[in-house]
Amino acid sequence: MEVIAKRPQSLTAVPFTYCPGCMHGVAHRLIAEAIDEQGLINKMTGVAPVGCAVFAYKFFNFDMAQAAHGRAPAVATGMKRARPDMHVFTYQGDGDLAAIGTAEIVHAANRGEHISVFFVNNAIYGMTGGQMAPTTLPDMKTTTSPYGRKVDDIGYPIRICELLDTLVAPYYIERVSLLSPADIVKAKRAVQKAIQYNKEERGFTFVEFVSTCPTNWGLDPAKAQVWAKENMLPFFKPGLFRDKGAEVKS
């Protein structure tokens, strides 16, 4: 029988620990496929965050580190500087990257650190049980914004791609969505580009995935996708912010 679909080599056989309908598994697969395609499995290493993806160090099929909350870009910096012959990525959620780890991501990007950062934005803290994130939308209810996120009190959601796009050094910045099969195909192309640039030592590459959290949003997976399309995409607009590798168009 012909095998037409199988687990990427860059994923282990350890079962994912994610909730039904969660998109982390899709994001993991896209990254693993891109690593396989670039033939990087034996030179790849990554950093798992704190949050739902904390066990990512078990899921990727090569040496991995697990970092303190928000510190993955600093840990990845230490790894890349210590082993310039290897390729390093971080995988981080919005609480990890956009709140407690803001300094680390901004400065790793500003140094143009030769790492890839994959950022999953689902507007909520998943693992700790649905608290407000820096990306939680205005008036959105969470367990720590039970009356809705009041922007006069706690401010507006942070748009990380836009923020990083103000820096000179980053090589590639793109926001994609995981909210439909067509979007996932587009997301795959962004991940491929980030991993390819990583292999080629071009510089700092960043891909944000707009995603869902059916469990903590209190929606079934299909409705969560619809909700995210209607509410998240207008605020977190998908698009290419920076691609220094693209040919200059006239």
Binding site: T12, I41, N42, K43, M44, T45, V47, V54, Y57, K58, N61, F62, D63, M64, A65, Q66, A67, A68, R71, A74, V75, A76, T77, G78, M79, K80, R81, A82, R83, D85, M86, A103, E104, V106, H107
Partner: protein, 359 residues
Amino acid sequence: MSKILMKGNEAVAKAAINAGCRLYFAYPITPQSELIEYMAKMMPTVNGVFLQAESEVSAINMVYGAAGCGKRVMTSSSSPGVSLKMEGISYLAGAQLPCVIINVQRGGPGLGDIQPAQGDYFQATKGGGHGDYRLIVLAPASVQEFADMASDAFDLADKYRNPVMILADGMLGQMMEPVEFKTPKTDEEIEELGRQHEDWCICPNQDGDLKHHHEINSLEIDPLVLEQHVIKLYKKYDQIEANEIRYETHNINDDNEIVVASFGTASRVVRSAVDELNAEGHSIGMVRPITVWPFPYEEIAKSIGPKVKKVYVFELNTGQMLEDVKLAVSGKVPVEFWGKVGGIVFTPAEIKEKLQACF
């Protein structure tokens, strides 16, 4: 090799490079700035990595990443900065990563001041970060010893896969003394040092049977697994306590009327006072812990001779090592304490006066 007149901060940096340190991540803070500046200047000359981090928190996490790759890596700071590193130090201890951390202590708490102090003894030896762990902590008393400890610290870190702290102070950091350096390690020797960790560290992979999946990690979500991990750490700490206690005694004998205990810069001043009093016909013995963890409890107990009336502890704090000395003495004789704080270093005359009052 001839001696070079150098500040402690620069001497320990030079000695660390000689010992094979090729990665250094830090953030500026007084009174350790000469250390980071020396590294900025010299690391590029040995093809090493110098990186000024955006914060102490990032610096220690860069250390975590580099140590996870099995390389000799160091960071340095002073008291308030070391507090910020404590999160990372706990993770380093949990993940069993070898590295060296230098604390050039200053006055505290809070922002305190920038003068020499020993107020971080508790933080260094009793935890500081969260969870059950131990740091190996070396306390130098001269610029020469500060420099010598760099290679000792890296060897201990590698041997036990544990972070090692050198607990110095602003006096040792700023003071110039003649220093003799060991022969620098060659690039081949440094490569070899890295290779000893290849059975657990992050390194390039291979296909087939040689494929590995090394995890640099301090998370064990299953309590029964975490329990085993912590027990394993404690067995390691037992080994360190059995093998690595370092201390120095001075004039310990059966005629001692008083035994004094002091560490680091404070011990230099205390020793001058002890020598003067002994020249005047008294008999005072002295113990100086060099490892403040593991602490020389038994060695201090054994130093208390039959005529000793009192053990006197002198520190540049309000009495921190004092608690360990009391545990060592275990009620056998009274233990008295005197210290100075605020970044003020006591004089030999002050120590002499305190000791004379005991006779």
